[in-house]
């Protein structure tokens, strides 16, 4: 019988092992860099093309929070690594080393959450630095207060962390790494923006709009989620989706045969 303390120790060991594993895998670095690059690219494009009025706090918040939507890419990150366990059959040494599958899955998802949190922090901070530098070079003042900046960074990081857990759960459920990654990429890049425009009731609940809402942003004109959820509600929706997927992944993993 596994005690709670034993279970927690197992989670801790798997968490440490999986974090090391991510550090030792080049594609993890590429995906994290891609997420940060996406955020920076969004800021640069919006500043260059839309000529954001720096004195307008709302516009600046919308700009920075939009870059936080890149946290949705961490869903892809989670999928690549969780489904990759089945593609490369590294799931076999994992369950041989730790046959108690629920603590093992918990540790695995916790590692993705930590990686997502760090990536989100770096990505959102990089966007802020670029925006600050751009506006300074233009001679515009940076009108956001410290509280707003912290909210944007924290919201982006939490969105990314939860996205990684969501992706890890989906990857565990689907197992087919390529199919799952393509499906999620198509959803994030094509279906989500189109649905957000076409179905107003959906717009606030899409992953990108939830990311913007979590970053304390106001919606960009014509952008996804023109009526954003309040951030606590956005956190509940995003977190709840991740928890539901994680529970489903746990239920399936517990009885799954590994080959």
């Amino acid at each position: 019988m596994t005690t709670r303390a034993e279970g927690l120790r197992t989670v801790g060991r798997v968490l440490r092992a999986k974090l090391f594993e991510l550090r030792a895998t080049p594609s993890a670095w590429w995906l994290a860099a891609g997420t940060a690059g996406y955020g920076v690219a969004v800021v640069v494009l919006l500043l260059a093309l839309l000529d954001v009025v720096a004195e307008d706090e709302g516009a600046l918040r919308a700009l920075l929070a939009s870059s936080g939507g890149g946290g949705a890419l961490l869903v892809l990150f989670g999928i690549v690594f969780a489904a990759g366990e089945y593609r490369h059959r590294t799931i076999i040494p994992l369950v041989l080393a730790e046959p108690r599958r629920l603590p093992a899955l918990t540790g695995q998802l916790a590692a993705y959450a930590v990686a997502g949190l760090i990536t989100g922090l770096v990505a959102t901070s990089a966007s802020l630095v670029v925006a600050f530098g751009w506006l300074s070079a233009r001679g515009d003042p940076f009108v956001l207060g410290a509280g707003a900046v912290v909210a944007i960074v924290a919201g982006g990081a939490v969105h990314a962390a939860v996205g990684a857990v969501l992706g890890g759960s989906v990857g565990t459920l689907l197992r087919n790494q390529v199919a799952a990654a393509i499906a999620v990429f198509v959803y994030l890049a094509m279906v989500d923006p189109v649905l957000a425009q076409a179905v107003p009731a959906y717009g606030r609940f899409g992953p990108t709009a939830l990311g913007i809402a979590l970053s304390g942003g106001v919606p960009a004109p014509g952008g996804p989620g023109q009526r954003l959820l309040p951030w606590p509600l956005a956190a509940m929706v995003w977190g709840g989706t991740a928890v539901l997927c994680a529970v489903a992944a746990a239920a399936v993993t517990r009885r799954r045969e590994i080959s």
């Binding site: 594993e21 895998t25 990759g84 059959r89 041989l96």
Partner: protein, 244 residues
Amino acid sequence: MIEVHGLTKRYGPVVAVHDLEFSARPERVTALLGPNGAGKTTTLRILLGLARPDAGTATIAGHRYAELHAPLRTVGALVEGDTFHPARSGRAHLQVLATIGGLSDDRVDEVLRVVGLGAAADRRAGTYSQGMRRRLGLAGALLGDPRVLIADEPQGGLDPQGMRWLRRLLRSFADGGRTVLLSSHLLGEVAQIADDVVFIDRGRLVGCGALTDIVGTGDPAHAGRRLEEEFLRRTAGLAGEDRL
């Protein structure tokens, strides 16, 4: 001690393993022999907790795999095929396993030396030859210095030197009071290393016993041929053309 009692496993209408009974004892190398599709891999997967039986039990030291307190310290497992990420180094693969299993990093260096991968430890495992991949798998199996070794086709991809190295490794493992259970198609190799053999066909036990009782104690050079004859005799009614 490995014990299998009344083990049955079905995949839909196919009975992969049927009421299988056998044991593998300490200080002995036990070989599980059978044609393709006989149920060898399924049996080993059930023993390792990777598949669930429909009936019966498969235990190691009296416990199902999932119940083992420190599985890597109890059982070393080598499964068929690669089980590592090709972009990670052999050392990183083992360090991950060691961390999950609560083992020290020193053990990683030790097993890398034992399997002869010390010089290639920091190379990406995807660049390894077939033999090196098998050695990495064995390093993972030996990581916890286990009392029991379960290996599915351990000779796969090894060259003649590698085969000889593996024979010595398994022999010294068993001579140290430990239990070895392996499956193999290479009857000549099995004849050189096994103490006991278990024949299965279509999931059923068709014979078992000490190798010397089956092939005699004559010229060891001919033991492989005699084992092959015995293998074919025991599986003849079910093997051959009707399998093709």
